[in-house]
Structures are given as C-alpha cells and as structure tokens.
Symmetry: C2
C-alpha cells in the first residue's frame, strides 16, 4: 500500500491533511490536491508523527520558515533543545530541523518529535557519521539504516546530500570558501578518498523506497551552495542543481515528495535569477533556501542579512526560508538567538506573502494599523510578532510615572505635544464639524 500524500493526490483523493492545508491557506481542497499531485506543493507528514498539524509548502502557498535547532559536540543537551523547540513554535516557526551532531542524538530527536506539532526535519548524515569512528568508513548501507531508523521515529523530512557527484569536486577547488555544507563536504571527501561515486546517489532507489514507506519528504541538499558572495551562482552550484532536478523527477516517479534546497550567500541582484533557475531545472518543486545572505560583513547580525535576502527570495517564489540566527558564522545559537532568528524570518516571509497578495495575509497588518491609530496599546502588543518585546520596549522608554500606563495617547518618541496621530484625530474631528 502506498501511503504518500503525493500518491493519494494522484489517485484523486483529498486527504484530511490536504483539507487542513486548504483551510489554513484559504485555498480550495481540490487545488491543494492538484498541487501535491504535480509536486508543486509538499505536505511534510510522516505517518508516524502522530501529533502533527499538517502544513503545506509550495509556490502557491504562503512562504514558510524553518528554525534549525540541535546540539553540537561543544554545546547543549536535551533540555536546552526542548527549550529551543518551545521557543521556535511559540514565535511561529512552521517547521523545525533537529541538526544535532553531539551527544544523545536519538533521545533528543525522539523527544523533539514527541513534543512537536510542526513538521520535524533532520540531516541523517550527521547521525551516520557520529556513529562511526571515521567519516571515511561511511557506507551506503549505514546511511540507509540511519534514514530508515529516523523515518520510523517519525521524521517528516530529511536533507540528503545525493546531488553532489565526483565530477563536481574539481569545480569547487578554486572557490573562495570551498564547500560549506557540512554533509556535502563529508560526502566530497568520501568520494575523493575512495575514488567512488556518491553512495546516496548510488542507493537512491532504495532511499526512495524508505521515503515512500513512511511518507518522508526528501529535501535534496545543495552540498555546493556558495559560502560567500564571491562563490555565488558559480558552475559548481548550478551543476549540482541540474542533478537535483533529475533526482526530483525520479522521486516523483515513485510518488515521493520533494523539496530542493538552495543558497546560501547571494548578492541581491542574483536572487531572482537563482529562484527562476531552480524552477526551470527542478520543475517547480518547492524551493527551500538558507537565507540567502546578501553581504558577508555582518557577523552578529546575519539574521538581518538573511531576512533581506529571504524576503526577496520569497517574493520571487521561494516556498520556505531556513532562518539564520545572529550567531551564524560565530557559534551555536541559544534560545534567545532562536527567538531573534525566527522573528527576523517571520518578517521576511510575511512581508513577501503580503506582496504576493495571498488571501487574508495582510489582515493582521491592517488591524495593527487601526490599533495604532486608536492608541490601543494592548491590542498592538497582542498583534505583534513578539508581544513580550514590544511591551518591554514601550515600557522601558516611558518615564517612570507612566511606565505601566498603557492608556496614554502618545509614546516617548514624540511626547504628547508632537504626536502626529493625536493631531490627525483633531484634524479629522474639525473636518467633520466643518
């Protein structure tokens, strides 16, 4: 029995998951079904992820955001990761990737899946490498075993580095920052040392069988994404993208859902080209990009750098943005970094969704504007992407005696005499009386 949403869509079935997606996107259920059938939308919903609220990712749905969490050998554990998960869901991450590479990978992942109502993604390669002595001892069998184990646990989508081939490695050798994908660099080294083709590429059909069995969505990783502006849109990146397009078609032949991962670091003037090229080479499969970062000189603020690139990418048709936190290029994010990264990317995705005029998406903005003009501070806080921070900033900038007074018809920016909204109300009143 084939359980994938894609298979069922192709059989003409509107599944409960498709109905849920249709409701939340304000789309017709039949339209959702047809988008899933042709691969332009994925519903990342492993049959073993029991408490999941299904969610659609694709060109004709609102752009989503993903938050990466996970520990490393140097930092964090299960408690901290569940705290990050809570933070991520609370501030509006649409999916969460557990990228743990440290201790207790299996335990942490199970805890995360059990706690999460949003889809969980992983990069199985990390666990595979963690469980062997030397990354060079990796084998196709080992990777497939880990993938099957994670699929059984209920992972909804998985990044696999099967698009980087031996022929690509020389293309990356004169890059400014080489290969910056963790899984991609490990895979490249393995191919170089063994003088063999990419084992996940070689075992791709077996991989598809596992994905089909649990309805795991494949997220085809871009091992050769640029790690800096200087390497953007180069031959290495685009050659791998063409292979991802081929692998996408092979997955669709087996009714396996697919997303395509994308860069990375891209100057503003190359973002539209990158999105259009992906659509062309990968048959409009959902594009899932990391950032992209539009400058290299802002460590400590790369959530902003990435939000600029992400907003543009989403405007041009990217389906999901992977967030970047302020710690990018510097260290592993903590819970507060997760919060800052999520809000920055919520802003990026939401502002693009407004510009793409998805139904109902600007309503919250209009409500906020009305609350501003009526000095309804409590409503402004409740409509804010981060109510706690909005309240805190308002309070800390008011003079002592007004600190807890949320009824004033001004803030400390202009004070009562210069508040343009107050004056506007007076003008409107006078105009009505005239």
């Amino acid at each position: 029995m084939n359980v994938t949403q894609m298979y069922r869509a192709r059989q003409g079935e509107i599944t409960p998951a498709m109905e849920t997606v249709a409701r939340s996107e304000q789309l017709e259920p039949e339209f959702v079904r047809s988008e899933v059938a042709r691969g332009r939308m994925v519903i990342t919903a492993n049959i073993n992820h029991k408490n999941l609220i299904p969610m659609g990712i694709g060109l004709n749905a609102r752009c989503k955001i993903n938050a990466n969490i996970g520990n490393s050998k140097l930092s964090s554990g299960c408690k901290e990761e569940l705290e990050k998960l809570d933070m991520a869901i609370r501030y509006g991450a649409d999916t969460v990737m557990d990228l743990s590479t440290g201790e207790d990978i299996n335990t942490i992942r199970q805890a995360i899946i059990d706690h999460s109502t949003v889809p969980i993604g992983t990069v199985p390669m990390y666990q595979a490498v963690e469980e062997i002595e030397d990354p060079l001892d990796l084998s196709g069998r080992k990777i497939l075993d880990v993938i099957e184990q994670q699929a059984r646990q209920g992972v909804d989508y998985m990044t696999v580095h099967c698009g980087i081939l031996r022929q690509h490695i020389p293309m990356a050798m004169d890059r400014t920052t080489g290969i910056v994908s963790r899984g991609g660099s490990l895979m490249a080294q393995w191919m170089q040392r063994h003088e063999k083709e990419n084992p996940i590429y070689e075992h791709y059909d077996e991989l598809l069988e596992i994905c089909q069995k649990y309805d795991v969505t494949l997220s085809l990783g871009d091992s050769l994404r640029p790690g800096c502006l200087a390497d953007a849109s180069d031959k290495a990146q685009l050659s791998e993208l063409a292979i991802l397009g081929e692998l996408c078609k092979r997955a669709w032949e087996k009714d396996v859902q697919v997303m395509i991962e994308g860069p990375g670091h891209v100057p503003i003037d190359q973002i539209e080209y990158n999105v259009k090229k992906q659509m062309e080479l990968c048959h409009e499969a959902p594009f899932y990009v990391l950032g992209p970062l539009v400058t290299d000189i802002a460590p400590g603020y790369d959530h902003i750098t990435g939000a600029i690139g992400g907003a543009l990418a989403a405007y041009y048709g990217v389906s999901m943005l992977c967030y970047v936190t302020p710690k990018e290029h510097l260290g592993l994010p903590n819970a507060e970094d997760v919060r800052n990264g999520i809000i920055a990317f919520k802003i990026a995705a939401h502002s693009a969704n407004i510009a793409r005029r998805f139904p109902g998406v600007r309503d919250r903005d209009d409500e906020m504007s009305k609350a501003r003009f009526s000095f309804d501070w409590e409503k402004q806080f409740s409509l804010a992407l981060d109510p706690e921070r909005a309240r805190q900033y308002r309070m800390e900038s008011m003079p002592e005696e007004l600190r807890n007074d949320c009824t004033t018809h001004h803030c400390s920016m202009c004070g009562p005499k210069f508040c343009s909204m107050n004056i506007s109300h007076q003008i409107m009143d006078t105009a009505q009386n005239q």
Copy 2:
C-alpha cells in the same frame, strides 16, 4: 556671491568638496561636478559647519544612511545625545539628524554640530513650535527666523514641510492612520484652522535665499507619507510628491541643492514603483526614504522590517536611507537602539551597493570570506560592521576552556569534526597532491 556647491558646479568649478567626494566614491571629479550641477547629487555642506568631511548623496553614488537622534519632552538631554552621536558615527552613519523636541534644543544642536564630522540635518519646524505657546500661533516669519538661525549655526540640511497644501488635507481624511509626519500634521492643522495656504510654501522664495546664503541643502519632507501598508501609494502621498517635484525645480533655479523625502510604510511589491515615480516627478533629485517598512506587525523589530524595504529601495536607486530603530512605534531610542538601527541599515545600504556594483564596494566582503576560510578570527572581527558584537558572540558560545582562544579552526556551531571549511581544506590538499 553665491556659495552653493550647485552654483559653483554650474560655473564649471570642481570644488575641494567635490574632489573629496570623488575620492571616497571612486568617481571622476568632473563626473561629480556634473552630477551636482544637474541636481542628481547633493553635497550637504553648510559653509559654517567647519569640521565636516564632505560627502555626496545621489543616484550615482553609494547609498548612504542617516541616523536620527534628538531628545523629546519625555526623555534624554545633551549628554545622552552626544553619546548617541558618537555611537552613530562609530558604527557608520553617513549623516545624523538632530530631531530634538525637548529642552535645550539650541545648546544640543550646537554641541552636535561642533562634534560632528558628518553632515547634520534638522527639522526646524520642531524648534519653531517649541518656542511658541500654541502651534497654531506659528507664522511664516517665525519659521524663517528659526531656519536662518539654524543655518547660521551650520546645519547642513533641513527638512521643510512645504509640499503639503490645503488641497491635500481632504485626501488624508479617510486614511487608516491619518497624517503620520509630525511636521506635516502640525502644518495641516494650521492650514485647516486658519483657512490659509501652507506658510512655508508661501514663503518658499525667502527660504531659498537663506539656503543659498549658507548652502543649506533642502530636504523636501513628505508630510503625507503613508503610516501603514493600507495607506501606501495613495492619492495624498502622490499628489504631494508632484508638488515636491515643482519645488525642486524652483530650488534648482536658485542653485539650491535638494533632496526629496519618501515613505515610510510600503509593501515589497510597491517599492520599485515608488522609486521610479519619484525619479519621474522629481527629476532624479536624490531620494531619501524612511525605511520603508514592509509590514506593520513587527514592533520591537522595525529596524529589520525597515532594512528589508531599505535594501530594496536602495537597489532600485534610492540615494539615502533614514534608519529605523527597534523602538520605532514604541518609544524614543537609546544609544543601544541607535547601534542596532545603524547596523541594520548599513547592511541594507551595503548589500544594495554591492548589487548595484559600485567600484570597490564588495572588496571588504571578499576579504571577510578569505578570513573565514583561513580561520583568521581577529581579521573577521576587524572587518565586521560591529567588531565588538562579533567577538562577544563568538566568545559566549564557545566552551569555557576555549573562550579566549581565537586560533581554533572551528566554532561551536559544528565543532571540530564537522567543520566544512576544515574538511574543504583537506579536500583541496588531497586534490593538489593527486
């Protein structure tokens, strides 16, 4: 004797200020002269601002950023404002506007001009209103007196609200957030109550004489800029913009330099239209926009919302971005907010300048990428827009024993085993040996 840069440019003179601008922009001095002569570039340099380093703002120069500082009736004084000025210059503001509306306006402004190597802008209306009992007692004479006094002090550019006319007021009456410009709302109320035309519009020729005398650049304010997405690109906004285009021509006839101010709150899909429209109606005079903010629901993070809109606006040809701080819509920013606002807008302007391929502008990015790939942490910090924060984030996320070690070939994100750059080096070494 006519002292303005525009007059001298039109006489064929390449002034020392133009030479300085040419050097910093990597442009030909004669090209700078011709841009100033035709009004497409301004050099905001009051003859009485003695320690100024001249700087060019225009379509064919790198996009600049402005930081607003200034106290309000509810908060801050001279000491705090000088602290904000230092912060602004340190983190790279190209100009600073003193928007004080509280106590000691004159003293604060003089202190700021004396301390500042970057151009200082003001909104003279604030002082004019502050010095009278009731804003409705304002007169053309009073405003001109304040403008002349500030010009004598050395203010390099001034926002004047002379484009909002009586005919425009009804257009703003059914807006969601009314008139959100402080000066604009005061002017509208004055016109409505007195049933007279805008006094600065009426006294425009006298205003131009003062500007000519000290070479004050006019920054024609957009009193009717939208205060929310719902009001963007409406009739009120565009009708005023057409008047600003007329006033621009009249200023150029007297060799007075002009910038045009712009929104505000604009959805991503309307930004290009707004920039092109301004160029058309205002004869390519430098466009100086506030943000623009691309969503209304992110109070506490509007520096990010504005950086997204600003990057796009700059990419389409805006000449200067006025920053927005995290406190926007909530209160008066403090020094830390100024820092966050500046860095966000440096990112926006710089990433647009890269995309517009101004000479040499990407060099720092490429140096940063090389420093990353060679694990030269100290160089990474020194090339960062905010060196202190980059260092702090790196340190706080490393384990205790490595906290002060900036020689490691990894960070806490991936740890030593999974560092893709490390693996890339190994791959490159092997490739070379093969």
